[in-house]
């Protein structure tokens, strides 16, 4: 990335381009540049390098949202993993199982996608590879029944972390969102001492539609955190800035590949650095 040496309208245009090209979106980009210009005025700086640094700080601050405890010592957890089709929910659950096992937590997976061809088989392959148990019914079973089976098994077996995979669903499909609310209700009504974290999985290649996804899933079940996948590609995932500004959901983990070890804890500083690489 080559920047103009002097602070000029062209310099700000260049910054705008980088942000727009990263899927930050026009509205959030304008907000960021307004904040930046205020800061430049306050600091009375004329160095573009310093201005770049201010922008990094502004973005890092927006992304530094306090997140729910994802490792409770002594308190069992339930993760409900949701999102639209193909974003990486099932693969992210495999990665989470590996993550929690590395922290010596016992895990249970629940195959809540009873609709898509070979969805249960896909999670079953992962569960065998990782040596974790899987609760599943047959294809076509009622997702609420599978969820009930999953949460009661997790409680009976005193598993540290139970993870619920769900079918991909477009947020615009009212019947599928109702189905998700039902699954959520079944889990919340049987949590006992368990802490529930609702995780929305977003694909880093997604553009402005991610805002609509975030809004609708939050309205349906409440979102506690985000997993942003496929950051090993060329997409920057800048939409999470717009989501942070509008909804304040914390980003919990990043997906950076297709294997079970390809999960990183979200670090705002690193994310911002990658944004400007």
């Amino acid at each position: 990335v080559v920047f103009h040496k002097k602070i000029s309208p062209e310099f700000y245009d260049e910054l705008e381009e980088i942000l727009i090209a990263s899927d930050v979106g026009y509205k959030t980009t304008s907000l960021l540049l307004d904040k930046l210009k205020e800061r430049v005025k306050e600091e009375k700086t004329d160095e573009t390098n310093e201005v770049k640094e201010y922008l990094r700080e502004i973005i890092e601050e927006i992304l530094s949202i306090p997140s729910p405890d994802i490792i409770h010592e002594g308190i069992p957890m339930a993760l409900l993993v949701v999102g639209v089709n193909g974003v990486g929910k099932t693969t992210s659950i495999a990665k989470l199982a590996e993550y929690y096992r590395s922290k010596d937590k016992s895990c249970l997976l629940v195959a809540g996608d009873t609709f898509r061809a070979a969805a249960i088989e896909q999670l079953s392959v992962w569960s065998k590879r990782l040596g974790v148990d899987l609760i599943h019914h047959q294809e076509g079973a009622d997702p609420g029944a599978v969820a009930f089976d999953g949460i009661t098994a997790a409680n009976a077996r005193q598993v540290d972390v139970v993870m619920f995979d769900t079918a991909g669903r477009l947020h615009t499909k009212v019947n599928l969102m109702s189905e998700l609310k039902k699954v959520h209700r079944v889990i919340t009504q049987n949590l006992g001492e368990r802490k529930l974290v609702n995780i929305l999985v977003l694909d880093a290649t997604t553009g402005q539609n991610a805002l609509s996804q975030a809004r609708t899933f939050d309205e349906a079940i409440g979102i506690d955190g985000i997993i942003l996948t496929k950051l090993d590609g060329t997409a920057k995932g800048g939409i999470v800035l717009a989501i942070a500004v509008e909804f304040g959901f914390p980003i919990l983990w990043l997906g950076v590949g297709e294997n079970s070890e390809d999960l990183r804890l979200f670090d705002p500083g690193e994310f911002v650095k990658a944004l400007f690489d």
């Binding site: 090209a21 026009y26 974003v87 898509r116 061809a117 070979a118 290649t205 553009g207 496929k230 297709e258």
Partner: protein, 291 residues
């Protein structure tokens, strides 16, 4: 929506007297914002708006009683022209079987699309065979097998180990079973993964497809251009399939990819079931992108 914003912009400008080029610029800014919001690539937006401007600063707009409507008309025409003026059919090769190769990023909808297109072609009187050349994703072959079983289409999985071999063996199997079209499903891959892009080139060489179809998720953002250009440079894409258009995504990626590669959009995916596929209609997508 854009139409209302443009009318509002021009109504406000009208109050200042005769319209000039600067006024059209202000209206075009609304077009730019609408296209960016629709996920059209920002460079494509820039060149598209410049083309619209060339037409919009003519007498017909500046002297019109309804300049907002004129600009919308120009934008719509330019968009439809860009999308391709009519639907383009799948190429049928003169050798049997005709082979179609499907490629794209992870999770775009390739496997589901292969199933859908198999059913679509069968309804047209063709005899498809599906080839499961994704050997990496857990239960990928199983996914295609289930779709095949549910829809009465033969699926070739081979040894589940070598995608290049699976592709060529599937074609041989099609000849034996007298199937006249082979649809090859491949693993999702990143355009920047040299090894996997190399594998795709080997599959292409072995299969000699009549079409190489890039499957793209309609909610893809600015990165669509990079991805499509890369697949096009390395493979030569003959057509695009845009999936998940049953969502509320505006689908601007379609415009970006079309502008940058010139590839025709052949089909759109409109649902998870096998009937969720439609032949592409340029004017419909143009209206959707404009919001």
């Amino acid at each position: 929506n854009l139409s209302e914003k443009l009318q509002e912009t021009f109504r406000r400008l009208r109050g200042k007297g005769k319209l000039g080029e600067k006024d059209v610029d202000e209206a075009l800014r609304q077009v730019k914002l609408a296209l960016l919001e629709a996920d059209v690539n920002f460079r494509v937006v820039r060149s598209f708006v410049n083309r619209v401007k060339e037409r919009a600063i003519g007498h017909e707009v500046l002297n019109s009683l309804t300049p907002g409507q004129m600009v919308i008309k120009i934008v719509h025409e330019e968009l439809t022209k860009l999308m391709g003026e009519k639907a383009e059919k799948l190429v049928i090769s003169d050798r049997t079987p005709t082979v179609y190769l499907f490629a794209g990023l992870q999770g775009a909808g390739k496997t589901t699309t292969v199933g859908k297109l198999g059913v679509f072609l069968r309804k047209q009187g063709r005899r498809p065979l599906l080839a499961a050349a994704d050997v990496y994703r857990p239960a990928a072959a199983k996914q295609l097998q289930i779709l095949g079983e549910q829809n009465d289409l033969p699926v070739y999985v081979g040894d589940g180990k070598n995608p290049v071999l699976i592709a060529s063996e599937a074609i041989e199997q099609a000849r034996q079973l007298q199937r006249d079209v082979v649809l090859i499903d491949t693993a999702g891959r990143l355009h920047i993964n040299e090894e996997l892009m190399g594998e795709l080139q080997k599959i292409k060489k072995a299969a000699d497809p009549a079409e190489i179809l890039l499957v793209v998720d309609a909610m893809t953002g600015q990165d669509a251009v990079t991805v499509a250009q890369s697949f096009n440079e390395k493979l030569g894409i003959t057509g695009l399939i845009l999936t998940k258009l049953d969502s509320d995504t505006r689908g601007g990626a379609a415009l970006s990819i079309r502008e940058v590669t010139g590839c025709p959009i052949k089909f759109i995916g409109t649902g998870e079931k096998m009937d969720g596929i439609e032949v592409f209609h340029p004017e419909r997508l143009a209206s959707r992108i404009l919001g």
